[in-house]
Every structure is written in structure tokens, then in C-alpha cells.
């Protein structure tokens, strides 16, 4: 069985500040991890994924995430956010043909 916990339902930050969105997972099989972003009135867009190899994964729009097996975490980071990063962010763990999502974290960037 797999599960994902996103500890923060909402994260408010000021523009140009750094941000970290937290994600913890549990999985009894091989771990494939993803972050998706959902902008208002749009679908889910893949930000980045970890399949194997380097534990630091870089994605689109300046985001990166680090896979930490001992802490079962896959936190998403960006060193300097923009207003346009305001969106909902979903962490997901992959299994055989399915994804298990977290509840999402709303990132609110204000000027």
C-alpha cells in the first residue's frame, strides 16, 4: 500500500522568498515520486519526478526536490518564488499504473 502526506494545506509567502513544500510518503514497493502543479482552472501538470539515480531532482519553473529515503520525504523547494507560482501543488507516489496523491498544498505568493 502507498500513501502520501502533505503536512501543510496552505503556505503563504512573499514574492522572491524561498519556499519548501513538504511531502512524506510510505510505500511497500519501488518508489517513484512526483510533484504536480495545478494552476487555477487548469489540469495537473508534471513539475518533476524521481525514478532513480540522483536524489536531487530539478524540474520546470526553477523547482527542485530531494528524495530522502531515510526520512521518507520528497520536499519541493524553490529559492525565489514569483506571483505566478501561486497554485496548488500535489505530491504523488507511483505504483503499477496508478498514482497515489497527497491532499495538496496551496502556495499563495503575495507581493
Amino acid at each position: 500500500a502507498q500513501s502520501v502526506t502533505q503536512l501543510d494545506s496552505q503556505v503563504p509567502v512573499f514574492e522572491e522568498a524561498p519556499v519548501e513544500l513538504r511531502c512524506n510518503y510510505s510505500s511497500s514497493v519501488s518508489v517513484y515520486l512526483f510533484w504536480y502543479v495545478q494552476y487555477p482552472n487548469q489540469g495537473l501538470q508534471l513539475l518533476l519526478k524521481y525514478l532513480s539515480g540522483s536524489t536531487l531532482v530539478k524540474g520546470i519553473n526553477g523547482f527542485e526536490a530531494e528524495f530522502n529515503k531515510s526520512q521518507t520525504s520528497f520536499h519541493l523547494r524553490k529559492p525565489s518564488v514569483h506571483i505566478s507560482d501561486t497554485a496548488e501543488y500535489f505530491c504523488a507516489v507511483g505504483g503499477y499504473s496508478t498514482l497515489t496523491f497527497g491532499k495538496g498544498t496551496m502556495l499563495l505568493v503575495s507581493p
Binding site: 502520501v4 517513484y32 512526483f34 504536480y36 482552472n41 487548469q42 489540469g43 495537473l44 501538470q45 508534471l46 519526478k49 525514478l51 500535489f90 504523488a92 507511483g94 503499477y96 499504473s97 496508478t98 498514482l99 497515489t100 496523491f101 497527497g102 491532499k103 495538496g104
Partner: protein
């Protein structure tokens, strides 16, 4: 860039009515999925579909639900007799490959259909 398209964007129906949610996956994709998100809750897997049959389904996907690929382009989700608790955002997704390989072929999601059951 090719997209997954879903229609309608918003559907309102009365309890007990049948609804069909429509999706056009990306043309060279072979695996199709439905997910849903009840307001304030997680995005949940419903069903995956390959080679004209269901390959996996969740506990949510009971006898009230069915999926179909009626032609070469559309992929539909039917709810036979809607309940209030079916109100949710329904996302269609597709990928070029599936199974373990599907993980290496990311899911592409549509913008969703918001279903409201009154």
C-alpha cells in the same frame, strides 16, 4: 504541445440521473485513466484502461461507474445513477505506456470536469 481535453468543464445534474464525462486523450497514447478530487480531499485514482479493457480499478469504481472508448479518440466515464457524494472534479489522464513502464511515461492530465449533483 498535445493536450488531453475534457468536456464539459462543468456539469450539473440531479441525483439519480446518468452522466457521461468525455475526454479526448493525446492521440498516440495507449493508456487512459480517470481520477477524481472531492472538494478539499485528495486526488483519487478511479480506473485505468488499456487495449479496450479495464486494467485496474479502485474501490471507488463500483457498478455505478463504467468506462468506454467508443471510437478512436474519445474516452468516457459514465455514472449510471448519480449520488450527492459523486460531486467532485473528475480528471482524465493518458500516457504513452503503462504498467511499470507507465511510470517512465508521465501521465498527462486534462483540465477536469466539475460534476455537481443536486
Amino acid at each position: 504541445e498535445p493536450e488531453v481535453t475534457q468536456t464539459p468543464s462543468h456539469q450539473v445534474t440531479q441525483m439519480g440521473q446518468e452522466v457521461i464525462l468525455r475526454c479526448v486523450p493525446i492521440s498516440n497514447h495507449l493508456y487512459f485513466y480517470w481520477y477524481r478530487q472531492i472538494l478539499g480531499q485528495k486526488v483519487e485514482f478511479l480506473v485505468s484502461f488499456y487495449n479496450n479493457e479495464i486494467s485496474e480499478k479502485s474501490e471507488i469504481f463500483d457498478d455505478q461507474f463504467s468506462v468506454e472508448r467508443p471510437d478512436g479518440s474519445n474516452f468516457t466515464l459514465k455514472i449510471r445513477s448519480t449520488k450527492l457524494e459523486d460531486s467532485a472534479m473528475y480528471f482524465c489522464a493518458s500516457s504513452r505506456t503503462g504498467g511499470e513502464l507507465g511510470i517512465y511515461s508521465p501521465l498527462h492530465f486534462g483540465n477536469g470536469t466539475r460534476l455537481t449533483v443536486t
